[in-house]
Subunit: 136 residues, 4 copies
């Protein structure tokens, strides 16, 4: 699988007194993109966790390339740009659906660990099902 | 023990575009009050949970009696007004420290359950250490 | 208009270490229900605010009648059960979509104010378009 | 001024079902560090905003170097490592106070803008009061 596009609508609770989405919520939007990517791949994250594969975030990078406001309908485009035995690098682009105005770009690295937080190889379905998209 | 008073400073992330603290964060402030109440009682919540006593919220009531804004230093006054074998009712008053202006009043009911979410008697330290404060 | 039903999927960020949705997020789910209720009524909340009608929450009551977990798809049923010149009382029921298991019930009172936080009559579209649903 | 160290205690609401602090909350902790840095510098962020200087985040980078759990008392060390006319780069290190175990490292770039979101020179007190700390 190459990319998924997911919609999310900005909640009032996610705005701040500057009238914009508060910066940390973009990391939550990225997660929503990853969760739907995994679901489309056939490996819902809830199932992975039930089987003992945890995927904590070990690195997060976000560039805020535009502004998102209350009630904006956003699109989160998600893909994988690197796959290692125990790590997976996701890329995210968030844009406003109405006019495709850019909102943010993200790069999130997940580690695969077991319940004791020790490294564990990513499950075969991910290693085989993900199509790594290079460049940007 | 009768009451505890805890301070919390409003974070930027807790404001909304109305320029006030978003309503759901009061429930988080109440929890901070309860956590410090339990710590002063000598039964930190983290210890209780480690011993298999979980205290999920089963009812929450909040009246927003004033306005809290970014960077306000707030005081959370916390006490218990009812104690049953497997339930504990907390009361909270939140006010701005600088001028004692009211912000909110809360009533939170916790159930005591075990790890399988079945009712469990509250631990003896709570049943014996808490001084129920009636009225208001 | 009588009721609206809105879907929301539980985010990982909304869980806590008890493995359940943290209690304050129910207030956010209720807001999502109100926002979609207003949109269906033809008066999106974003438009109201642009016209100078603010609707802060002045009272919130939530009974947690069941458990919501990560990735659960929830339904939020929303209606109005009381309408006063400057106040509107919303009721919400949250249930898991898959099996209609109850999750929470809410009663939220909003005040209508102007930008200086003084009471203001609710706009005519709301006073005329809302169908008050009594009982439950 | 060179660095500030601020304490924050992990809230239950900030944990997730993995039993760790959910990743986006680190950005909130970083903000707490910046706010106290600015206060010590003599330019509280609330005052800056009242004077028409807004400082939205334009880039955020976080490496999760360890684990933070419920009720942990954390220390946030904050400094500035680059200062441009309309930008300021903050660095943050978060560690557990009890044993100095690392939790996270952050690099946050803020833009200085006016209320219409156009670039504006940082106020003189910041340009003159901040001592840029190079390296790490």
């Amino acid at each position: 699988m190459r990319t998924t596009t997911t919609e999310v609508r900005v909640r009032y609770s996610e705005t701040d007194q500057m009238g914009l989405v508060y910066n940390s919520h973009l990391l939550v939007y990225f997660e929503i993109g990853r969760v739907e990517y995994m679901r489309e791949l056939g490996t819902p994250y809830a199932d992975l966790e039930a089987r003992g594969f945890l995927l904590p975030v070990v690195e997060a990078h976000c560039r805020y390339t535009g502004q998102a406001r209350y009630d904006d309908l956003l699109e989160i485009v998600t893909w994988v740009d690197r796959l290692r035995p125990t790590r997976i690098d996701f890329r995210h682009q968030v844009r406003r659906k109405a006019d495709s105005a850019p909102v943010a770009e993200g790069h999130i690295v997940l580690a695969c660990v077991d319940r004791t937080m020790h490294p564990r190889r990513l499950p075969a379905e991910i290693r085989e099902g993900v199509e790594v998209v290079k460049g940007e």
